[in-house]
Symmetry: C2
Subunit: 363 residues, 2 copies
Amino acid sequence: MQTSRLKNIRNNDRLIYGRGCLSMLGDIIKDKRELNNKYVVYVIDDYFINKPLVAKLPIESNDQIHYVDVNQYEPKTEQIDNLRDTILQKSGLPAIIVGIGGGSAMDIAKATSVMLTNPGPSSDYQGLNLAKIPGVYSIGIPTVSGTGAECSTTAVLTGPIKKLGIKCDYTPFNQIVLDPDLIATVPKNQWFYTGMDTFIHDMESSSGMFYNTFSAAYGDQSIELCYDVFLREGCGQNEINDEKLMVASLFGGLSLTYSEVGVCHALSYGLSYVFGTRHGYANCLAFNHLEEYYGNAVSDFKKMVELHDIDLPQNQSENWTEDEIHRMAEISYNLPHMWHHALGPDWENKISIPQIMDLFRRM
Amino acid sequence: MQTSRLKNIRNNDRLIYGRGCLSMLGDIIKDKRELNNKYVVYVIDDYFINKPLVAKLPIESNDQIHYVDVNQYEPKTEQIDNLRDTILQKSGLPAIIVGIGGGSAMDIAKATSVMLTNPGPSSDYQGLNLAKIPGVYSIGIPTVSGTGAECSTTAVLTGPIKKLGIKCDYTPFNQIVLDPDLIATVPKNQWFYTGMDTFIHDMESSSGMFYNTFSAAYGDQSIELCYDVFLREGCGQNEINDEKLMVASLFGGLSLTYSEVGVCHALSYGLSYVFGTRHGYANCLAFNHLEEYYGNAVSDFKKMVELHDIDLPQNQSENWTEDEIHRMAEISYNLPHMWHHALGPDWENKISIPQIMDLFRRM
């Protein structure tokens, strides 16, 4: 195990965990809503339009609700810029931004928080430590678990030329609200695809060179929880497993703070960039064919797919053109931090665009 | 497993982990030292007087160094008040306070940070959320692992009438620096007593009613790491175990954020209050005789004591007067949150001062 590169991690300032803790949102918001123009922006997955969840939120008359469509595409830089402009034009700088939903809603809220105070297009901030001004106070409330976006220091965006996160001191949520009740009704396929994002994070974190004892402690425990939720006796969607999956997602994200994702995420980014494939699903499509990188974890993954009767189509590549496969491979190849972690500092000698194209052809 | 009481946890704002990360302290401090009267207070365990560690610190000419004697007694409220007054009289409000040492040095730094800005004696703030003004920016650098003081929301103090922590939003360190190199030279007995504080935290956390899935995830992983460090093949003081013990301590502390300590800590507080017994050692004296509360963990503890040839005297109570035993039992009994967690809401029907006196007579 190599000693990590040294990184000074910015934690979420505050964390609340437990069944029913959404009910504390009003108290959490109360003191903070006196800032700036004294109103709250809610960024909510449009799945929740006319759902009971919205009625439970402490929304006041001058607050803004923005429902976001995250079904078709992953968050785009243009979408963030438009949302920022709409918010500011309507009521000026808000006191608080709250993100409610899965990883996409989390990332939209995190990115918008930063872009409300930093000038110019969000594509200018894709990279490390490019934003210089603290964002608006941000609160993350996940309603599906697995992405780790609730604790990660990155807001992943697809821009005009790349899929890459805004990663800076101001990206992490100031407050996260982890209420296992909120993930109880996630449809089974989505529960699985998103949950597997954590399992894959853990496997990628532990199989690369930036792994250290800190990452291992979080990753090992996250793996244990994933096996409880997805493979061991008593697995499946139920109350205790919802509690465990919510913690597994958090721990998987925290494992990555010192480590990195690897081959699977590099491929998944290619899929999402070219076809807009949703992140968790794209990970599953790729991971299913990566035995030589992740060994037994892939056979365990296949058992989980079968056990929960999950839709996971094969032979997708039959419908892809050579040009599409080449574009995906280029996007994947241009994620050096992932390949470096997975394959070592001489990764360029170990993987090439044609080899990556072959990996895509398996899918 | 009972769903937790809901608590909104204040995290350390920042965390850095890894061998050699102490070398980043200068960069960490640089931006912050422009606050208030633009100097840094170092609170350092006096063990480090004339040791190489001090030469590695980025101390500037107007900074203050205060060595603290933590060998004889645990931190006292009077000591905090005197330190606060000395600091302020000499140079006014500092920009930063840095605590370097074990749990006592950590707690002195945390408490002094709060008392530099909150008026009156620190004994007025022993309890929950009594301090109303944010403290001075605080940095914790543990040099012995196990107490969890680096991440806990409490600064434990012995006052004129009780041993009880200052526990509020402003107690946790803003920044923690976890460098496993710093614990490499801890003398064996202290390594063990302090490390066992974590093992006992984990056992107390998991055996009481406030335990939840969040606490379990941290506690279970901390227990695994403790077994690696203290009992399994490859155990003992070495590089990888120093890395693990540092994470075990952090996770043990984080497990307690939702849970609580129990019977062992209640007895240990009595010992420390009456005799000034150091906390980790007091825990070991008590835990050794608490099979009926902690089952196999106590037999594992005994194996660890034997394996590492640790000094753990027996029959201490032969030298204690009935009055001393009674005073210890009273101090212990007056920690209702610990007994409530350990024995349930009807704890007063399950334990009495005479019964606690019997527990002390075993030691």
